[in-house]
Symmetry: C2
Subunit: 501 residues, 2 copies
């Protein structure tokens, strides 16, 4: 460990850089751009080494702006400087760049170095780029998923079996999780669900659930809730399950690099960290969904199932119709309201139907009964009110008020109706357009904003019929959304008589 | 531009991160991990956006440790926050990751965004990884080299033609530049040479030249020296020619990513920024050199020549024997001493011979005379003392003492002899081993340290013959080098009688 006197170079380099006297550095066997670890009063920084020839004496270190700020260093401060060993995982990243297959040990080393801040963001970017271009073999994906799943907190759930479900998303109003979790929990299965907030849509499951109760629970709070009620619906961002994945996503995002192997490992590593043994994954397909073609959905399903098997989880995938929204109300409050109303009125709507069918598959997986038997068990839990009771217990366990009813849920007071401008048959309602309009209205941040659909695919409409109503907390938002409505292509209406010749 | 009150989150995130109230961010149409530009009192930072749900009010911004240090921000400071547009060059980097060919405009945009700090190091790393794996077509390499050559300072040299030379390196004692520059300059050609310092060897041309005069000249100082003397030998690191290349090298280095297209563009962009019209590139090959096989050297030569042509430079490559050192003295002072002695004694050694042959090729390129005529012209400049006179002028123009002689050059006072331990014929003297030993002795930082070879390849040696002498500024360094000598495999001696059967 060297002790060097600080000189401050008030220049920003765009990254952490530090300079040492050339003679001193060479004498120590250092090379240009080696990584150095610097410490001062408990603050530390990792910086890339530059050489200085005349500006620095042998007992001095030159701190560029980024580094002097990190260390809070003043001229003359004595800085501890130590060269960092080149981590072995750099060789493994290079190996992947060269298109070779990495061993399980090599992948673990990369994730371990990533978690210990021994890899720089640029080195991780090279790793992700290599995966994007050269792909990962199934064995590598397995090793990566295992390493990621162990990289953060692990949920400890007593009593088996633990089940879970996940949708790759993209369908407006698809809140089946809020029905499936209480149904399965009411049947005695453990189902700890960590859900996402909306990134580009009007509402995520976590956003809608937050209308009813807190969702930012700690690991211990989640474990307690599961202990009490068998289930929970919490926000995954509040806990650090599989946290290496979060670090990788930060680098993937700006370039929108979503190689399939990282998509698979990202989802299943979280499921494994949740302790799930049985996992059902919904892959909605169709126009306006994330995946358009069924072949693509099937290929993804096969990869999920085979990766799951290798991780010690039974994973099944279903391909569902994702070409239309699944509820009438879109937006956090409207979706929570519709879920509560479904329970209250035991309404056999699309959400009810999809949830019970998915429970049927999960029960078939867990209990070895037929899907039909499982489906009927799920319907029985809904009809008997047991699922609703369980939902209230879960709301209470997460810190919400279990007596809340659909009527209690406030939605925005400003409204406008959308009318049809031609006669015909509704041939498509676009998920992407709905998200866009709802976000203009303020969703998901404004939980009370959103849209209420008044028609569904296949309905015949007349010119002037009301097809939807938009909801917001200000007139300004309503006007803004109305102005942008024509750009969004919310619906397609097919003429019944196409032409008169 | 938003004005938000700072809250400080005293957590290091490993990169610049900033948090905003979720509601506010979504309302503004921001997405997780968008890039934000922050300003406070003339200091600024670019940071990745996180969302905060309860911790921040709508008029607050949360600064993580790295960012608050960069801005020197205190609690409650009003920070200007502005989302940065996603640069278009990100799409072009993605395109390269997808294995597609980039247009000249797209490559210019990447280099321009790189120079304006609009690309993060991770995004550049993805670009370099994509080039490493997918390669660059010749048209892309041309565009990249042009963009890089224009990215920094440009030397303005009056009067044509400007010639230049470059060695890809790896041969100990190869200081032909210090002969070629004065020979060519004495013939009236402009030859501004920006040379490198040693990275892994005992001495670079800039290190040896620095024994005789300053080499860290500014662009204006270089232009003045050329004006006066036609030539210079300066350190390239002191000027910012083709400076995008320096930024790329910082990212390439930790992963040792040296795709051929970046090697080519790195060298020729600098030559173009020097204003060179005729460029001679030396590719030493053989055991212990950077390139071992002649086919590889020839392929590289073809690429250099064709890229040069497209850049408007006439580039010729020679493949030379790089399997042995080129001078007896190795190390900055010993090499400078040997060059001066060569001039003083007009010694027809290997350096003299190689330099005159290379000048012959350059003169053939520039003047259209035969290589033999050019070679004889170079020898005449040496024999007449005109080249030496020019060398003294150059030393003076760079700020050195032109009356310096080889005897004035001090070398380390501590010495040890290395003896041969078997009888036979010297079959190989290893450049890499020489570098290693010289660095243990303190070179290149200690200019007086190094090695003097007493034999050359092909010499017959007896057990006990002196084969080399090592030189250092302390006894400790000598002892240390002697202890490590056996590991370095300095020479190979072939038995003349291999076995007696």
């Amino acid at each position: 460990m060297l002790q060097l006197k600080a000189k401050l170079f008030d220049v920003e380099q765009g990254q952490n850089e530090v300079a040492m006297n050339y003679t001193k550095a060479i004498e120590l066997g250092l090379t240009l751009y080696d990584r150095m670890h610097l410490k001062l009063n408990g603050k530390h920084a990792v910086a890339i080494l530059d050489f200085a020839h005349e500006e620095l004496a042998e007992d001095e270190v030159g701190l560029f702006a980024e580094v002097s700020k990190l260390l809070d260093a003043k001229l003359g401060d004595v800085i501890s400087v130590e060269p960092l060993q080149r981590p072995l995982s750099l060789d493994y990243i290079k190996k992947k760049l060269d298109g070779k297959i990495l061993s399980q040990k090599e992948i673990s080393a990369i994730i371990s170095d990533l978690m210990h801040e021994r890899l720089s963001p640029t080195e991780l970017a090279a790793f992700i780029s290599a995966i994007y271009i050269n792909g990962l073999a199934m064995d590598e994906t397995i090793a990566l998923t295992n390493a990621i799943s162990e990289s953060g907190d692990l949920l400890k759930v007593n009593g088996v079996p633990v089940v879970s479900m996940h949708s790759i998303g993209g369908v407006a109003g698809d809140r089946v999780t809020m029905l499936i979790v209480p149904i399965m929990a009411s049947l005695g299965l453990k189902i700890p669900k960590t859900a996402a907030r909306a990134i580009s849509s009007a509402s995520g499951t976590a956003d809608a659930m937050e209308v009813l109760c807190p969702v930012a629970l700690s690991v211990v709070q989640i474990e307690n809730a599961i202990q009490k009620t068998n289930g929970c619906i919490v926000w995954g961002g509040a806990v650090r399950l599989a946290s290496a994945d979060d670090k990788l996503i930060k680098i993937r995002n700006p370039l929108r690099l979503d190689p399939k192997s990282l998509l698979l490992s990202s989802i299943l590593a979280k499921k494994k960290a949740e302790g799930a043994k049985f996992v059902l994954i919904d892959i909605p397909i169709g126009k306006g969904a994330k995946i358009e073609r069924i072949e693509e959905g099937r290929a993804l399903a096969r990869d999920f199932e085979s990766l799951g098997l290798s991780l010690g989880m039974q994973v099944r995938c279903l391909i569902s119709d994702g070409s239309s929204p699944l509820s009438n109300g879109i937006g956090p409050a409207l979706e929570a309201k519709e879920i509560l109303a479904t329970f209250e009125n035991n309404e056999h709507n699309m959400l009810f139907e999809k949830a019970c069918q998915m429970c049927g598959i999960l029960l078939h997986m867990v209990k070895g009964i037929s899907q039909q038997e499982g489906y009927e068990m799920a319907i029985a839990q809904m009809n008997s009110g047991k699922a609703f009771l369980k939902f209230k217990e879960i709301i209470a366990a997460q810190g919400g008020n279990p007596t809340i009813t659909s009527k209690d849920i406030k939605i925005g007071e400003f409204r406008a109706k959308i009318f049809c401008d031609e006669r015909g048959k509704v041939s498509h309602i676009d998920n992407v357009a709905i998200s866009k309009i709802c976000r203009l209205l303020g969703a998901p941040a404004d939980k009370r904003a959103g849209m209420i659909l008044k028609v569904k695919k296949g309905d015949n409409v007349e010119k002037g019929d009301e097809v939807a109503e938009i909801v917001a907390s200000s007139k300004q938002k309503i006007d803004f959304a109305m102005q942008n409505l024509h750009k969004a292509q919310l619906m397609e209406v097919e003429k019944i008589i196409i032409d008169l010749v």
